[in-house]
Amino acid sequence: MIYLQLFLSFFQIGLFGFGGGYAVMPLIQNQVVDIHGWLDMSAFSDIITISQMTPGPIAINSATFAGIQTAGILGAAVATLGCVLPSTIIVIVLVKLYIKYRDMSVMKGVMSGLRPAVVAMIASAGLSILTLSLWQGNAPSLGAESFDFIAAGIFVLSLAVLRIFKVNQIYVMLSAGIVGLLAYMLV
């Protein structure tokens, strides 16, 4: 029963995939390539590449991809459902506890400790994307040959537009895509 197998495999990935993003990659590879052989290693590395190029969490992207390759669109839906079900149940339980206990002083302390850490983690993720964008995966250096001036220009311009004019982020990203298409074509 391929649907049940897909569901159970991705249920495990969803349940044990702490940390998200690249932290779940080995887990997905283990289920999809090693245990079930739904994808071979080169298809799996393609899905990683495509995940970087498309929106959406890598776990959901691989669930869709593996599902559709093995059992069509219904397989994709079942695998995706399996993938999101455990975390959905867990976060709802956690938020219920949070609502119930958030007025306790220990809980307030925990949350005051976590809030600045959340800001720091977002900053860290953002800086990783920025260096990736400016040096395209090469180690950051001051040399002009590996530095992407177009990306730097788009970054500075986007940030200025966001800070000063408070433009909708989606419009900024779409415009940046168009600018990228034209600018990289000319260089």
Binding site: F18, T49, I68, S87, S105, M111, L114, G126, G177
Partner: protein, 184 residues
């Protein structure tokens, strides 16, 4: 019904643009649900992100589900879940049919390189605002936590789950509100 639809379409639109990993969704959820709809306040948003981060699964999905739940209960959570999951499901389904062409297309990679720089700007924008709020509080502990957590995550690549646990313990031990503040 209108609330569920707003949740569904907001998360649908946001999820279609979360290139580059889970945290990218945070600035967009923030501007939609705090700044335009006023459904959630800044402090609760940070709490929800911390919860999303402490659970398994994708941060983007968890954060949307939590916001949906806070706004409209279980059905709200399901509306947000559906809205968040649908874009990657549809996009990958379409791409999987001709993925070699997509992967090798020069035009696609140019557009994506441009968008990647803008993603970095979107995150930088929200980080500036949030860090400003933390520093403006003029308390030493939160600023110290922010700097150390950043150093641990970025420079030393420490797994976020350990950062969450350590900061939660520090908070529970040293950052409990004083009795007076409790009473007010």
């Amino acid at each position: 019904m209108k609330t569920y639809l707003t949740l569904f379409f907001s998360t649908l639109k946001i999820s279609a643009f979360t290139f580059g990993g889970g945290f990218v969704i945070i600035p967009m959820l923030r501007s939609r649900f705090i700044n335009s709809l006023h459904w959630i306040d800044e402090e609760e948003m940070l709490d929800l992100i911390a919860i999303a981060q402490s659970a398994p699964g994708a941060v983007a999905v968890n954060a949307s589900v939590l916001i949906g739940y806070r706004v409209a209960g279980i059905r709200g959570a399901l509306s947000a879940l559906l809205g968040t999951v649908l874009p990657p499901l549809v996009i990958i389904s379409v791409i999987s049919m001709f993925y070699a062409a997509f992967r090798d297309s020069a035009a696609v990679s140019r557009v994506l390189k441009g968008m990647q720089a803008a993603v970095a700007a979107v995150i930088a924008d929200v980080v500036i605002t949030m860090a400003h709020n933390v520093i403006n509080d003029k308390r030493i502990f939160p600023v110290l936590i922010m700097i150390s957590a950043f150093t641990a995550a970025y420079l030393f690549g420490v797994n976020v789950i350990y950062i969450v646990i350590v900061c939660a313990v520090i908070g529970a031990l040293f950052m409990r509100p004083k009795r007076k503040e409790d009473a007010k």
